[in-house]
């Protein structure tokens, strides 16, 4: 078996530096909330739908309170109050606010006990629904058998949810285990989640609850046909992390892109907003039994895969520590890395083997998310197909958890039906060909592969210790991550972060913490 010999002292140092960094944000997690966290609470209470102009009702309600500077204690209490006063459902409360018929800051007083009872009932119901979804998934895996390793993950990205369904079903029938519906360009930057089924998107299809529902239903159908549980995934990251996580939990998504720092580094979302939102959103993922996936691949789409290999390792370690704080179990942490090596580099495969093994060695329980070549994919589809084959080879040889299949048309267009099919054929052929190869091989300890893995880890440790020393926000402000400077108070969405008032109440946060043993 291919097994690295890694200096145990280094591993130990790596984890404690990362834990120190992640552990210094209790002030943020405990004392702050954000607009999207509040909108999540509303969604969980049962508020959905949108105004004619497309503005979702959760935004309407939160903005209403925000505008009146009445958000400090959260949205749960005022909504519950309004429900009790008017004998309304949460949804009707929101609709009334939307029509301008109701002012949540001007409600008759209600005994707090009644308020907490209402909220207790609604939150118990929602958490039960989420638990049921988790159990349904577990039963289906029980019935159909576990996911293959690496799982075959493909994207659909037509922009039209109905066209996506056709492509997803075809992919599942050909052997895909996980379907990712790629989001429309830069949905990260929307401070709301669009509503309803959508048929127009650029580079992808909007993440909406209805779209989740449509795709989940389609995949449940194929799962029966194929007698194999087909997982569904989408992106949480962005200005609506917890809301989308909540939608995923309600609609039984099985995995979600959820990176602790992606929004900050790659979308210029405010650091505080991002860390705060990811904290709650991952808790939702954890309760729903949803496997999170992190976005380390993003470091390598702009930087060199060899020179900056340590940034991937460092980010994996941080993502792990942040995930632990949200109650995510190691076997649900799909940490990321990517085969973004220059195909012109001599021994490119050996470098990648070292990097892939290092991830497996550091995170043995993680269903690692392995991303394909994209940066060096070119208009030469035949060459890209080969690079994808080398990527598939590495994925199977080193038993990565999830193989995000590369497409031979990566540099040209979002995948056509045939591109995806050829990608699945590629993976299936290579996976089968090298199925048990690992069992025949071993690694010389003084070999290039082993040496390289150790040196990447050493660089990561040195980097993390430096960051632990100066603090994450300072380091980010200095451009230590991905060569991009992100000041603590810069970026989008800072005005959506607020300090909790003395009477702040979020019925879900507390219950989830309890459920997760946090």
């Amino acid at each position: 078996m291919l097994k690295l010999e890694i200096d145990p002292g280094l591993k130990q140092r790596a984890r404690s530096a990362a834990a120190k960094i992640a552990g210094s944000f209790n002030w943020l997690f405990d004392e702050y909330s954000s607009l999207t966290i509040e909108r999540t609470v509303l969604r969980f209470l049962g508020i959905d739908g949108a105004l004619k102009d497309g503005k979702p009702l959760p935004n309407v309600v939160v903005d209403h309170l925000h505008a009146k500077q009445a958000l400090a204690n959260g949205t749960a209490i005022p909504v519950a109050k309004a429900m009790l006063s008017g004998n309304l459902t949460a949804q009707s409360v929101a609709e009334a606010v939307g029509r301008g018929d109701l002012d949540l800051t001007n409600l008759p007083s209600v005994p707090p006990q009644e308020i907490f009872e209402v909220l207790d009932g609604l939150s118990a119901k929602m958490l039960k629904h989420i638990r049921t979804q988790r159990e349904t998934r577990e039963q289906l895996f029980q019935r159909f058998g576990p996911r293959r390793v690496p799982a075959i993950y493909v994207i659909v990205a037509t922009g039209n949810i109905y066209e996506d369904v056709v492509q997803a079903k075809a992919a599942a029938a050909e052997g895909a285990d996980i379907i990712a519906v790629i989001r429309s360009t830069a949905q990260s930057l929307l401070d709301y989640v669009p509503y309803g089924a959508t048929t127009v998107g650029f580079g992808g299809t909007y993440a909406t609850q209805e779209n989740f529902r449509i795709m989940r239903a389609a995949l449940d159908e194929v799962s029966e046909d194929q007698q194999r549980y087909i997982s569904l995934t989408n992106y949480a990251s962005g200005l609506c992390m917890p809301e989308i996580a909540a939608m995923g939990a309600m609609e039984r998504l099985d995995l979600m892109l959820n990176d602790a720092m992606y929004g900050i580094l790659f979308r210029d979302i405010n650091p505080k907003r991002t860390l705060l939102d990811q904290y709650f959103s991952r808790m939702i993922n954890a309760c729903a039994g949803i496997e999170i996936q992190t976005g380390e691949d993003n470091y390598l789409t702009t930087s060199d895969a060899v020179e900056k290999a340590y940034t991937v390792t460092a980010s994996q370690l941080l993502n792990e520590q942040f995930a632990l704080l949200s109650g995510v179990k190691p076997e649900k942490m799909g940490l990321g890395h990517a085969y973004e090596i220059d195909p012109e580099l001599e021994s490119s495969f050996s470098y990648e083997l070292a990097h892939a093994l290092l991830t497996r060695e550091l995170f043995p329980d993680s269903p690692v998310k392995y991303m394909p070549p994209t940066k060096f994919a070119s208009g030469n589809i035949f060459k890209t197909h080969l690079m994808d084959a080398m990527f598939n080879f590495t994925g199977q040889l080193t038993h990565q958890g999830v193989q995000l299949l590369g497409m031979m048309t990566e540099a040209i267009h979002t995948p056509h039906l045939a591109d995806r099919s050829l990608a699945i054929e590629n993976a299936q052929y290579i996976f089968k060909a090298v199925k048990d190869l690992d069992a025949s091989l071993s690694l010389a300890p003084d070999s290039f592969v082993n040496t390289r893995a150790n040196s990447v880890l050493r660089e990561a440790v040195e980097f993390l210790e430096r960051v632990a020393e100066e603090g994450l926000f300072t380091a980010m402000a200095r451009g230590e991550f991905a060569d991009i400077k992100r000041p603590e108070n810069g970026g989008k969405g800072l005005d959506g972060v607020f300090r909790k008032g003395a009477d702040y109440f979020n019925p879900f946060l507390d219950k989830m913490k309890q459920e997760l043993g946090l």
Binding site: G379, N380, A411, I412, T414, H416, L417
Partner: protein, 248 residues
């Protein structure tokens, strides 16, 4: 004609007409070459021409990879497929069928004719062992299968068929460079006609580039392409010969 009857290529949106193309031109790998490639595709009639790959092949040639959109569409209701229409039976069923409907052994003489030495295909049909878990004709109780092997001149094949009083001739043609298979298959049929053998036997050809349609066009009774099995051929022969007995 409903919309469903119109068949157009599909990339990721119904009827988007997307196609992938690659080809080489005697042009340099530069803006001039790329424009030549674009014009060529335009002349063929494509739209939205995206030349995404350009590879220098040296010696003045360049390879282009492109995605294009075609406005061509096929009317499903006009598609007429010439296929072998006899049902396919298993070995035992075929033997039983012959016993009942013909009552004697069928003699089949087969060969790769002329320059062709690719015997694997015809062996797959004729030899005991068969192919992909389907036994070959030799294994059938009611077939007398004589496989002459590779590079058999047309004359020799016909002579042997006459000598054996064959009911069926099987011919394989694999090499197609410069349409050699058309030439060879035509030669066999013409010789058979000259020798007045054509109507005395079934003439069946096969090979990876043979279709039933092509076979008919060349004057054969049937043609079998890639992925054919002895079961297909045996069933066809049995049912067709039984039909002739009834008619005759």
């Amino acid at each position: 004609m409903t919309k469903k009857d119109i068949i157009r290529p599909y990339g990721d949106t119904s009827g988007d007409g997307k196609m992938q193309i690659s080809f080489s031109l005697p042009v340099p790998a530069d803006a001039f070459g790329k424009e030549a490639a674009r014009l060529l595709l335009k002349q063929i009639g494509f739209d939205d021409i995206e030349i995404c790959g350009m590879r220098d092949l040296r010696e003045g040639y360049t390879h282009f990879i492109a995605y294009v959109v075609t406005s061509a569409a096929v009317d499903a209701s006009r598609i007429k497929v010439k296929v072998v229409e006899t049902p396919v039976m298993g070995m035992e069923a075929t033997d039983e069928y012959i016993r009942e409907n013909i009552g004697h052994e069928i003699t089949v003489v087969g060969a790769c004719i002329e320059s062709d030495a690719h015997t694997v295909g015809i062996d797959a049909i004729m030899n005991m062992k068969g192919y992909n878990h389907r036994y070959g004709l030799e294994r059938y109780q009611y077939f007398n299968a004589i496989n002459l092997g590779a590079q058999v001149p047309c004359e020799d094949l016909l002579q042997r068929a006459r000598a054996e009083k064959a009911d069926v001739i099987l011919v394989s043609q694999v090499v197609t460079q410069k349409n050699i298979h058309i030439k060879n298959l035509t030669k066999l049929i013409e010789l058979a006609e000259a020798e007045q053998l054509r109507d005395k036997m079934l003439f069946i050809c096969g090979g990876p580039r043979i279709s039933h349609e092509l076979a008919i066009e060349l004057g054969y009774d049937a043609g079998f392409g890639t992925g054919s099995y002895a079961t297909d051929v045996a069933s066809y022969i049995a049912i067709t010969l039984a039909g002739k007995i009834v008619k005759g």
